[in-house]
Structure formats: C-alpha cells, structure tokens
Symmetry: C2
Subunit: 186 residues, 2 copies
C-alpha cells in the first residue's frame, strides 16, 4: 500500500514514514509547493491546500500543516510558525517570553486527506511549555524549545519514535492511519 | 469616475479616498474577504488575490497589501504584519529590538489593479526607523513605531494628508492614480 504525502519537508516525511511503517505502508513524497492561505486556523489552510492538490494530482493524497500556539502571545506564531522561525527564530521567541511566567503552549497539527472524492481532517495536539533555553539538536524548528507535558526533555532531545508517541503530528498521523485501517482498506 | 477597492480595512479606504480626491475620483468599497496566500513577497500575495477578486466580481477593481520589513529581524513581520500586530503587537516588536542598534525598516505597499483583462502592480516604499517607544495615536497598526526618513514624527503623529505624502501606501496609490491619468482615461 502506498500513500502520497504532498510536502517539501524532509523531517515531516520521515515522521510520516515512521508512523506508517507500523502498518507496512509506504509513504511517497510529492513536492508540489501548494498554496497555503493566510488564515487563523490550520484547518482552513489545510482545506484550501488539499483542494488545490487534488485538482492538480487527481489522485488520493494528504498534506499536513502544523503550528506552535503560545498562550501568553495570543497564539503567536500559530499558522505562521515556519515564517516566524525563519526570521526571528527560537531566540526571538525566548526574547518575547523573557520574564513572562506563563510558558504554556500547544503544538497543533492538521492532516488533510482526500481520497479522490472527499476531504477528511485529522487533528492532533501536544500540550506543553516553552523552555527557558534551547535544548537538544534533534527534530526541527521549535522542537528545542518545546517541552511536552509529563516530560523533562524537549522534542529535540527525543528519538523520532519517542517524539511521535507524544507529538501533535504523531497524533494526527495516527488518526489518519486508524482511519485507513477502519474505512479505506477494510 | 469610480474605482472599486476590495478591502475590509477602513483606514486603507480612507487613505485611498484622500489620494483619489485630488483627481475627483470616488473610491467604493467591496469587502469580499479575498484569500491571501502565505508567500515571501507582497507581489505574490497581491497577484493571487486580484485574480480571485476579478473572477468573483467580473469588473475592474484593485487591492492593496502592505507590510513592515525590519532589517535586524530578517524582514519580520513582513507579509504577516497584520497577524503579528494582532498577537504580539507593537510591544512585541519593541521587545524583539530591545538593545539592538540597527532600527532600519521599510514599509512596503503593493497595489494590484485589474482592468478586466490584465493585472498591473504598483509598489511603494517608505524607508525609516523603528522608534524606541510608541508615539502618537493616529494611523493604525505599526504607525506609532515607524519614523520615516527625514522626519521627527511617527506616522501616527501625522495627519492623513501628510502621511500619504511620505507613506508606502501613498506612493503606490499615487502610481495607480498616475496610471489612470495616463492610460485608462486619456
């Protein structure tokens, strides 16, 4: 069985392959550079994106979009996490939170899968805290800052398998996998 | 003569009306909520947006998108200026620049006009500095932080007419006006 993942992100591809390996599905990559709209929610962005992909590819595929939502910053950087990381980086986030006690944050992931006729959305969340410093060199983006609930380690200090068990993307990808198990290939 | 401006922003509408008044053109508002894509340049966002608007309205119209690009922050907040303002605000920008000597910034504006068959892009820039504090209560968004070159006042301390003479949006709107004068209604 083969699933097409529309992404240009090698880290995400690796995480998806690791999840899908459990059920022996191969994940193939299509790097199309689909348009992401500016919106307040990942769901809106994912709906727009998957519609574009399905029109282009004309076969079943999925996309994934994620963001870090920091409570004390009114959800910033949220849907624009990638851009914010590429400009102000983790140092910028630490600067914005300097002296602020509330470090609560949520990593959200939305997977949108279209089977050729209908779109299904699978969301995953990981609650946690923004650490006071950059920790670890695994993962990518905000992983060195994010310490999930009930963990002493940041995402960047974990192995992919360990991170997937706790992470927002691991959860949304697992929901996609379960959906496949139950409905698409019974 | 009448020009349709697709925007939900009353401040921008007011600025456009003030510019167009000089040549006795009325600006009417269409608040369509067109999709803005995530992209590195305002031009890309404007192209996508005006194509959507012209397909929907099927008559000549224009849109305008602007952003503040701060040198020391690698262009942040750039195309996502509105979202960044709504979350971390001017206080966040000051925090990110705390202790940083290079306060150079550029306000950019892009007007996209489609006459029913072709899109024309008009860009305007205002160079300046990010002040060390919030100054003035006019304008909107980052205006209280932005001190244009050769001025001691922030945009928020100026009258609309005075600001339009210096501002990115004043410049792009003036280019649109000149284009109309020269080509569309000779």
């Amino acid at each position: 069985m083969e699933l097409m993942f529309v992404t240009g992100n090698e880290h995400k591809l690796h995480e998806a392959k690791t999840v899908m390996k459990k059920v022996k599905w191969a994940v193939t990559q299509a790097d199309l550079g689909y348009p992401e709209i500016q919106a307040d929610t990942l769901e809106e962005i994912a709906h727009f994106g998957i519609n574009w992909c399905i029109e282009k590819l004309k076969k079943p595929c999925f996309i994934e979009d994620a963001g870090l939502f920091i409570d004390a910053l009114h959800g910033f950087p949220g849907p624009y996490s990638k851009y914010v990381f590429n400009t102000i980086g983790n140092e910028g986030i630490l600067r914005l939170l300097d002296g602020i006690c509330n470090r609560d944050a949520v990593f959200k992931s939305v997977v949108a899968y279209n089977n050729g006729s209908k779109t299904h959305i699978f969301a995953g969340e990981a609650k946690g805290q923004i650490g006071s410093e950059i920790k670890g060199d695994g993962g990518f983006c905000y992983d060195p800052l994010f310490i999930p609930e009930e963990s002493a380690l940041s995402f960047a200090e974990m192995e992919t398998k360990e991170k997937n068990a706790l992470s927002h993307r691991g959860k949304s990808l697992n929901k996609l996998m379960n959906y496949f198990r139950e409905y698409e290939y019974r």
